[in-house]
Structure formats: C-alpha cells, structure tokens
Symmetry: D2
Subunit: 346 residues, 4 copies
Amino acid sequence: MLYNFTNDYSEGCHPSILQKLTQTNVSQQPGYGHDEFTQEAVATLRQLCGKPAVDVHLVAGGTLANLIVLGALLKSYESVIAAETAHINQHEAGAIEATGHKIETVPTADGKLRPQDLVALINKFPEYHTVKPRVVYISNSTEIGTIYKKQELTELYHFCQENHLLLFMDGARLAMALAAPGNDLTLADLASLTDVFYLGATKCGGLIGEAIVIANESLQKDFKYYIKQRGALLAKGRLFGIQFSELLRDNLIFELAGHANSLAQRIAAQLQELGYAFLTQPETNQIFPILPDDIITQLNQKYGFFRWKKMPEGHSAIRLITSWATPPEHVEQFLKDVKVLTAKAG
Amino acid sequence: MLYNFTNDYSEGCHPSILQKLTQTNVSQQPGYGHDEFTQEAVATLRQLCGKPAVDVHLVAGGTLANLIVLGALLKSYESVIAAETAHINQHEAGAIEATGHKIETVPTADGKLRPQDLVALINKFPEYHTVKPRVVYISNSTEIGTIYKKQELTELYHFCQENHLLLFMDGARLAMALAAPGNDLTLADLASLTDVFYLGATKCGGLIGEAIVIANESLQKDFKYYIKQRGALLAKGRLFGIQFSELLRDNLIFELAGHANSLAQRIAAQLQELGYAFLTQPETNQIFPILPDDIITQLNQKYGFFRWKKMPEGHSAIRLITSWATPPEHVEQFLKDVKVLTAKAG
Amino acid sequence: MLYNFTNDYSEGCHPSILQKLTQTNVSQQPGYGHDEFTQEAVATLRQLCGKPAVDVHLVAGGTLANLIVLGALLKSYESVIAAETAHINQHEAGAIEATGHKIETVPTADGKLRPQDLVALINKFPEYHTVKPRVVYISNSTEIGTIYKKQELTELYHFCQENHLLLFMDGARLAMALAAPGNDLTLADLASLTDVFYLGATKCGGLIGEAIVIANESLQKDFKYYIKQRGALLAKGRLFGIQFSELLRDNLIFELAGHANSLAQRIAAQLQELGYAFLTQPETNQIFPILPDDIITQLNQKYGFFRWKKMPEGHSAIRLITSWATPPEHVEQFLKDVKVLTAKAG
Amino acid sequence: MLYNFTNDYSEGCHPSILQKLTQTNVSQQPGYGHDEFTQEAVATLRQLCGKPAVDVHLVAGGTLANLIVLGALLKSYESVIAAETAHINQHEAGAIEATGHKIETVPTADGKLRPQDLVALINKFPEYHTVKPRVVYISNSTEIGTIYKKQELTELYHFCQENHLLLFMDGARLAMALAAPGNDLTLADLASLTDVFYLGATKCGGLIGEAIVIANESLQKDFKYYIKQRGALLAKGRLFGIQFSELLRDNLIFELAGHANSLAQRIAAQLQELGYAFLTQPETNQIFPILPDDIITQLNQKYGFFRWKKMPEGHSAIRLITSWATPPEHVEQFLKDVKVLTAKAG
C-alpha cells in the first residue's frame, strides 16, 4: 500500500516530543501529574484559555476522558444528550452506560447539536419517571468532519445556561477544528462557552493524551478522585506532560493540525472540481467524498481508507483522513490516480 | 535532595525504548494493538509463558488492569478476596467497587494469602444473602515487598481450583519478584498456576504499560470489549507495543529488576549489620527498615522516602524503593550517611 | 370526577387476596419466598407453563423485574434491543443504564419488534468498538396496547436463537394480552418461545408483584443473588405468594383481564361507530382514540385519562385504560357522554 | 415445631392493616405515593418528628432503602463507614458495592459506632488514592440487638458534623429500639441527630415497607428519581401508605414493639437467673444467650432459632427473636423447657 488514509493516528509523534523525552529521561520527577512538564503544560493551557482558574487534567485517551467527565458531572438519574453520530453513542462499547448513565440521542444531518434539537428532550414526561438531561455532549470537529462556528456555540451554550444544562465538548480532534479555514473560535472562547472541553494530542502529533479543561469552577472539586477511580491517574505523568508541553509550545499543535487540514482540503477541492459531491461539508482533515464504487475499489488497492456508507446508483461515501504527518506527495499521487480513474470511467 | 527513594517510577525509561520509538516513528501502523510491535511483544510473552494459547493485552496502568480484569471475571454478586494491604483495597480510590464488586479482605502479616485465610470466607452464611467469592487477588511482589514461593503459589492455586475460585496476580512489580534472590517462579509457572496475571512495565524500565496475560482460555472471549468499555483501548498501541517488545528482548526487564533488587538488598544487608530490624522480610526492591525517628528526620533532609508506620519507642518503619535507574553511588552515600548517624546516636 | 381511566392500578385488589391474607395472617411462615403460598404459586405457574423446569421468582414491580433480569442476563459490554416506545427506554428513569447497559432502540409503528428491525443492529461496526446486542426486550401487551400473535413471536424467537440473542418479554400487562380477543398465545407458548418473561399482578387484580419465569434453564443459576442484591428479596414473601396463588387459582387473573379488555373493546367499538380513528389498533385494555380537542376537554371534566399525543387539525390521541375493577356503568355513561358531545360538535 | 424464634417477620401483620386495606379497596387512588393513605402517613411522621420540613418516602424493604439512600448520598469516590457487623456489610449480597461504593468497616464489640472508631478512617493516606468517607451508617437497634443512647448519638452526630460526614440510621428495627426499656431517644431526636433515617414496618407489625425520613433538607432534592431508578417506586403506593397510616396511628407500632421487647426481656431475665451469660447486652427483641450445646440441640427440636456463634467449652450463642405477634404462652413454655433441661444438665 502506498499510503493509508484510514485515520490520523497511524504515525508516531512529532519529533520534538521524542527529543524531550530523551533529554529529560534520567531526571527524577514526582508522579501522578506533579512533574514539571505537566505543570508547564497546564500553565500554558491556562494562558491560552485566558483564564487562570481553569483546571487541567491529562488522561490517556478520548473514551477515558468522556467516561470520566460524564461520570463526574452526572448524578445517577441524569442523562447526557448527544447527536446520534456521537462517538460516545456509537464507538465506545457502552462506556458511558457502564458508568450508569443514559445517552439521549438526537438525529442530525451534520453531526452538530442546536438548541432546537434539545427542546423536546427537556420537555418530556413529568418528573421522576424519566431520566433528567443534565449534560449536552458535542464534538468539535464532529465525527463527520464538521465544525462549530462561534455563533452556533454561543447560542448552544446560552440555551444550556438557561436550562440548567452543562455543555461538554469532546475535543479528540479539536486542534483540527480550531485550525480549520472556516473556524472563528479560540481556546479562550471554549473556556467561556463550555463547562468542560478537552484538547486531544493522540490524533494531532502526540503519542498519547487528552487535556481535559474544566472551565466551570464549580465542577473542579475532587476531580482527581474520578480520574484515579477510573484507572486513569498514571504514575509517569511526565509522559503526558511532555506531549502537551511540546505540542503547546509556539502553537505547534495547531500548525500540525493546519498541515492535516490543508491536505484534506486540497483533496476536497480537486474532487469537487472533478464533479464529486460530499456526504458532509469538507471542513477539516476528515472528508467524505462520494465516488463510484468501481473507482473506490481500484483506489483501495493502493490507498487505505474506510468505506463509510453505501449511496444510490453504485456510489459510496468514503472517509479520507489526513494527518499531521501525511506527506504531500502521497496526496498528489492520490489525486493523480483519481483523475486518471475518473477520466477512464467517464 | 540528593536522591529520591520514594518509588520506582521517578525516572523515564530504558533508552532502548526511546531509540525504538524514534527509529520507527514515521512508519504507519494499524491502531488498537494491531501494530507490529504489539504483535512482537505478544509473541515473546507467549513464548516466555511456554503456552501459545495465552491471550495478552497491553493497558496503560495497574489500576486500569485491576478494574478491567476483575470487572470481566466477576458476575455482579461475586466478590474478590484480597489481603487487607492489597492495592485494590487501599490505593485505588474504590475503583473495584465502582465496577460493582465487593472486596472481602483478610488480615495478613506479610501481605500474602494462604489457603487457610480463605476458608472462613467461602464458608459464610448460606446462599444469596451474602456475596459469593469468585476471584482471589494476590500481588507479587506484594505491596510490602514480599514474594510468593512456587510451593505457596501451587497450594493456593490448587485450593482455588478445588473451590471454584479464580486466581489473579497483580504484577505491577512482577519483574522484581521474579528477579528476586529468593524467587523460584518463572513466567511459565505463572501461566499454569494463575488464571490471569500481569507484568508491569511502568515500575521496571518502561514509560507506561502493563501486560495482562489471560492464561485460562475460558476467560479469553470478548476480553477486548472490556478494555474498550473502560476507556483503555488506545489508538496508538505502538507506544505500548514498543515498551514490551524492548523490555522483553533478551530478558531486559528482569535484568533491570535485578539491578533494583540488588541495590535494595545491599541497603538491607548493611542496615541489618547495623542492627536494624525490618517490618517485613526484605526480598525485593521495596524494603521497610525500622529506624529511630531522629535518624529518619536527618536522612529525610537529603533523601526522599515514605514514612510508613509509627513503631514503639521513638522508631518508625520507612519505605525505601530502588529502581532500575538508581545510581549505585547514591546508595553507597545513603549507607555512609546512615552509618554516621547511627554512630552519633549510639 | 366520575371515573378515572388514567391507568389500571387505581383500585386495590381482588377480594380473594385480602381474604386469604386475613385467614392466614397468624400462621408463621419462612421468609424470602420459602412460604407455602409462594410455593403454591410457583407450582401453579409451572403447571400452566407445561414445563416443570421453569424457575419462578416473585418481585415487587415491573421496573425492578426489568432491571434484575437484564442485569442478570447481560455482560457489561452487552446491550438490550428494544422498541423506542419500550417502558425500559421511556419510563424507568434510566434504571437499565444504571445497571451499566445500553438500550439500543428501534422505531416502530405499533410498539412491536420484528426480525427485520434487528438486522441492522446485529451487523454494526466490527467488534469491540461497539456494544454487542444480547437481549431482545419486548412487551406484551405493548406500551401502546398492541399484542403479539403466535406467528410473530415464533419468528422473533427463532431469529433470536439463530443470532445468539435472548428474548425477554415484559409482562406487566401480560394477562390482558393473553385474554385479548385476538390472542392465540398461552403461558406454555411463552415458556417455549421466550427465554424469560414475567406475568404482572399489579395491573391485573393484585396489590403488588410480578412473577418472573425463567424458561431457559441455562439462565437460572444463582438468580436469587441478583434479586437480593437489587434489594428485591423481601422478608415477607407471603405477601407476594398470596397475590399469585389467588390470582392463578382457576385462571382468575385472566378472567379479570378479560373484564378489563371487554370494557375497553366496548368503548373502542362504539367510538369507531361514531367515526373516530385510533392511534394504534385497540386490542387490549389500553386504547388510544383520536378525538377533537374540545370534546377531550369536556370529557376531562368528568373522567380522568392521559392526553397522549397532539394530532393534526385540532385533534389529540388520548389513552383510556380500563381495569379489572372498572364498573361497566361508568363505561356506559362515558359512551353516552361522548355521543352527546359528538352530536353537539357535528 | 411449637414456635419459631428465628426472626420477627414470620407472621403477617396487625389486623388493622388488613381491615383498612379491605375497607378502602375499591376507592380509586393516584399511584406512586400520591394516594391519601401515604399522605396521611407522611403527615403523621412529620408531626412525630416535630419537623414539618422532613421528607418521607415509603419503600418496600431494608436493603432497598439502604441502597437507595447510600446511592443518593454518595459521589462515586465516596465511601460509607459501618460496623463490621452492619447489615449492609454482611447480608445484602453486595448491594451497596453494586451501586459503586466501598464500605469501610470498623470492628466493634457491640455493633455500635463511636467517634473514636472513625478517626483513623478519616485520616488516611492523602487525597485521591483512597476513597473519601462521606456517610456513617449505623443501625438502631443494631444487628446484635443493642441500642444507641441519646448521649452516644449526639456525640456521633456532632463528630460527623465537624468532619463533613453524613449520619444515616438503618431503622429496620427502629421501633424496637425506641420502645426498649433503656431507650431515651424519640423520633424527633432522630430528625435532629441524623441526616437520614428510616423506620421499618416489615419487622414490626406491617406486611411490607420502610419509611425513609430525610431530615437534612439539602439532601431532599430529586430523591424520588433515585427511588424510581432502583425500581422501588411502586404503582400501588396505597399498600405502603396503609401500613404506615395504621401503624403510626396512636403509636401502634411502638406498642407492638414493646410487646416484642418485653417477651425477649422476660426470656433474658429468666436465663440470667439460671446463670446464663449473653453475647451482647439484651436490650431489645433480639437476644443472644450462651447455652450448652446439648441443651441447644434439645430446644431446637421444639423451637426454631438461629445458632449464632460457637463459644468455648461446648457452648454456643443462639439468637432468639420475639415479634409483635409472639404469644406469651409460647415464651413461658420455652422458659419452662429451658429450666427443666438446665436442671437435668446440672
């Protein structure tokens, strides 16, 4: 196979992380997040959030971040509202329910929640026979590559505030969202327009790690207990600290995300020129072009990607993902190949 | 501070791990444990276990390993039996109970369980008013530095077999146990004298990772679901794979454990010569000498360690831990300092 | 208010239950279901099931029965499939999720599941990223008053068998289903066409109690532990025993259900004659006629019922429920009132 | 068998309950605790507590009450402290752990907790590696028949207040405690010296039911959700309402408890006169005399009771329980039989 576009976690990590791990290897550091690298990463994130009072916790992965945050925010009879496409609903093997909570889902066209999606759920059957919604879960970028605009997030957050709901943003691909051409949000915006969000390293240049930011101060107390109880408080916190101290230095993480995005956008633009449609608006490093099945089959001999959805008339939507490490020349070759196949088919 | 003997996770990792991470950084690898390094680590462990049918899963930490394994092995009304000193009972913030299970504890002098400790618990009040014990949890080395001999493990395992109990060994410090001077167990023994055990990398030369070995084939089915559901199935499995492929090559992990053990044993031997007693038999890299409180206070200005337990007549037991990375010269300096302080006090 | 058609649990219980409680009040009985009345009830149910090997457990209510059975049948990563209208999905305040399990829902027109509804759910994304469906939950009669025919249940059960799924029937209103004019199922059929079902007393002439029947012998072991652990094993089992020993004597429960059904069917027939449509086929004691909103408002001054769903053009579906204790004269008066209001409106 | 002293739930209920159930049987009542009998019971309890702001909820049994209250009061990483003999620790099949919480136990001689028992547990290892105690669970009367004096409860409650702990009293046998000769507590005292307590009907003249009283107003919000989610919100709340409206009328429940206590005290006094010792102070309707094994064996042919504990020199402690319904003549016959056997043995 020439190149695998299946996901953005196929490669290792940005070299600066390995260099830092190597340089600092023999220094003795306290465990469980008290190491100096974690402290530096936390300080930088606080600065980027423009809010010294945010709490930051580094954990290993996205499902772990989701189950810890939701477990901490919800009382047993409270539910989380999410889009049907939400990662917590589709691809976490019931992790949220295993912490005891119902996910109430809403069908959406673009993977994004809007206030009108929530109205019915918060006006259900009267009290105590049904769960009580308490958290609204969104992903940015979403599981289908779209992003939230500042106006959208503002409306959603205000709706939450007015309805005693907490807003939680899954940021496994937040760097790509914030680095997207159409984005108008900053980390500082997130710190004032969500209650909790996280910024993922795994899919954007790190080996491991998600940085949970608890913006709402009333939710910060005892949070480390939840992390410990779910097995997520790791002895060598230095490993996580170094991911984020390096990726946050000089906005490296957003530069890497920009690289991933620009390659995907290049593919999208060229495919659109060739006349191909997309399942969702191509905005980040995940794009879902709709191609003829025979072209897909031929491309698949040379490139890895996920066949996402059967479409009418012998077409399918595929998912192409570019990463911080994707070599531009493989993208160019891919585009050349699509053009040739399209010409032949035409 | 000259040197910190508080734990064995203060330093980074063996350099070969960083080198391998660097060399293989750009190679695209499948996620979730399907990478080539994980495959190599699994193959080596199977070989060391002398049992190709064992299943191996790499997860991030010990609490995570414990809660996943116990959650997978226990039905909701079944309990796990453990020593009162057990890590799952004392230092996991209720992680096991959070998966719904009672820990039934047994007081012990040396942190080890023996068949006679279990008899009362399996002959309780008649059925369905009490929990039903199903798993016996042991640690090797234990939380207080002692190890299991082959004869002891054999008796315990047979007792479990006869009483419909599963035997699970927490191996966060298994490398040190197996590298201890008094040890007569091998990984192959563990694969036939336990149902599940794990081998920890975090405390013995790795950055992260515990290798869960499911020796009992009837427990292997669908195990990856449990890992995923607890948030422990990480995208970049290569990070875990490389820890273990490197540490298991040429038995590196046991060599590193031997280094840690030998330094602790050197301290123990010298302190015994000075007339000091120990809370438990010094067998591995964790030792618990009993010293006069004023000597402890003075040592503590130069060395880090944990004050474990107040003892009579102005003495305390302290916990000293050496690691794979402890420089011998610091140990020698520590011993020199103890001798001087002891002479002064005498 | 003249009469309340809101539900079928507004009245006490059939007088024979109170008489038996009174007659046997001073006899000393063993607790926790070992009393003679429970034994008698179990024996009768076994006989009615035509299968001496079924296990029977009496618990207090439907939500309790559902959470105990599903908790017992499911491993942590396994899910239950249900219709969107299912009681476990809508009206149990997240009780099933609180035991750790995801409910995967299917939209239906009539509240009933068919094999084709399940196909997509059992052919999802490949293993261990998603939950694994294991139980199919159905209600008979359903939450919207419809019933399963033998042919439908047979097809569903065979589909479950072929796909490693267990079939569980919520029978809070099973007596009404089996006493419905269109029914062709027996308790003996249920014992061979489900894995577990229950027969509810609360809504059909008892004060309290649901009789869980475990037809699948492989699921019977240790079931009482689950009951105890959920707080449902009550000391004075005699209270439950007497509900069922009396209600099962000479098929009293089905006679009572027949009474409830026939009154609802009488209302349905008359409303149909008046030209009114129904939200779902009126088959049992729960019917959902669609009436003009102003007629509803006027009826509501005299009769209690639930406004179920807004419909187009100033109509709504209401839910009318008759019970084992509903006096026929109130039904006649209700029909007279509807006729008058309809005539006025016409 | 002449009479069974095994427990206090062998008989039915006080006749006034059956009469009331019968008289009110056909009246239509709203479900889920909104019936008039429940309202009356709640009002009476509020009055007896001298505190109109207490919240009252009626549930079916003690284990259910315990798991609901503790589930509602504890965050996931918080624990409950209890005596080793506590019902929640010994006889609830892991019900509390199944809601996710650790029980931290304290050995006691008499089943009662005192402030000094709690000091070590609230001064453990520093934060987030261990669970955090939040609730102190006590039983009154205890599982071994003893009772709390006002002074003891006051000290314990103040200690809890000073240490951010909630005090919860299991009152499955509270009526017997409050009716005991040595008692100096009232329901009003409990409403100001506990955060939550319950008063049990099952063991003192009712068929079913425990009345949970939430004295601490900050704990009252949304409590009914917890009840519903655990399956404990039953449709025919009238059944529970009538238990308590009858038992609380003119203090009937305490009169019944007094009857049970006085018979047990009569046995205790006579056995003491015969020279027999007791495992714990005989204070209520549960007493634990220590008798020679051969006398026990002979008594057991005629009377039911539980052999509690082997004692030295061929003796055992047995548990004798009298109930609200125990006929005095059986007690007299029992005492006569013990005297004869004692004389023979002497």
